[in-house]
């Protein structure tokens, strides 16, 4: 079956602009996660959705970052007023309830 998909695969934006990154999880997976992979920082947890529960936002680095998950499926990560330090690969993963996370290919964000 289809895996986790993310769009766009690459995004180049100017400092100060807003960006939206999309994640389509594996059908039927109740959990959805966002991570960020950047040089020198490794992989950082950002936010976690589980079913209808309130999301765990503890990893979001600032209030410029937000995410929503509509209908328990697709998720959008929004970064407002982007800064150069936001440049990274943003990874989405979905989970099947057995503690295993399946990762998407990521969105490479470059802020000029």
């Amino acid at each position: 079956g289809a895996g986790v998909s993310q769009s766009p695969s690459n995004k180049v934006t100017e400092k100060g602009k807003d960006v939206e990154l999309r994640c389509d999880p594996i059908s039927g997976h109740t959990a959805l996660y966002w991570y960020r992979q950047s040089l020198g920082q490794g992989l950082e947890f950002l936010i976690y959705f589980q079913g209808n529960s309130a999301p765990d936002k503890s990893g979001l680095p600032s209030d410029r970052f937000s995410a929503e998950r509509t209908g328990g499926s697709v998720s959008t990560l929004t970064i407002q007023r982007t800064q150069q330090e936001d440049s990274a690969v943003y990874l989405c993963a979905s989970g099947n309830g057995y503690n295993e996370q399946f990762f998407g290919p990521g969105t490479r964000l470059t802020v000029l």
Binding site: Y33, G42, F45, A93, N99, F103
Partner: protein, 115 residues
Amino acid sequence: AQSVSQHNHHVILSEAASLELGCNYSYGGTVNLFWYVQYPGQHLQLLLKYFSGDPLVKGIKGFEAEFIKSKFSFNLRKPSVQWSDTAEYFCAVEKTTDSWGKLQFGAGTQVVVTP
């Protein structure tokens, strides 16, 4: 704060050599442990996982890992590597209490296997 340490950032070895990548974590409670691999140009894939039971777990492509609770370690091994094992390897820890679902990753180890 909990941390996950991978001892080597870069490893270069020849085909047929044995590989061992170290991973230590600092959290004292119950954890789930994972090794993920990222092949060049591909996304992260699960190699193996440990939740409970036999501390020696076997994963895909001939990899195995051993959980040693007393050492807070979860080292990855492969007896004989192939060129196709060239990739970046990440250890990850999930606390089973207040951080359920959140993986904390190590910095990764870049492994290069030469023919």
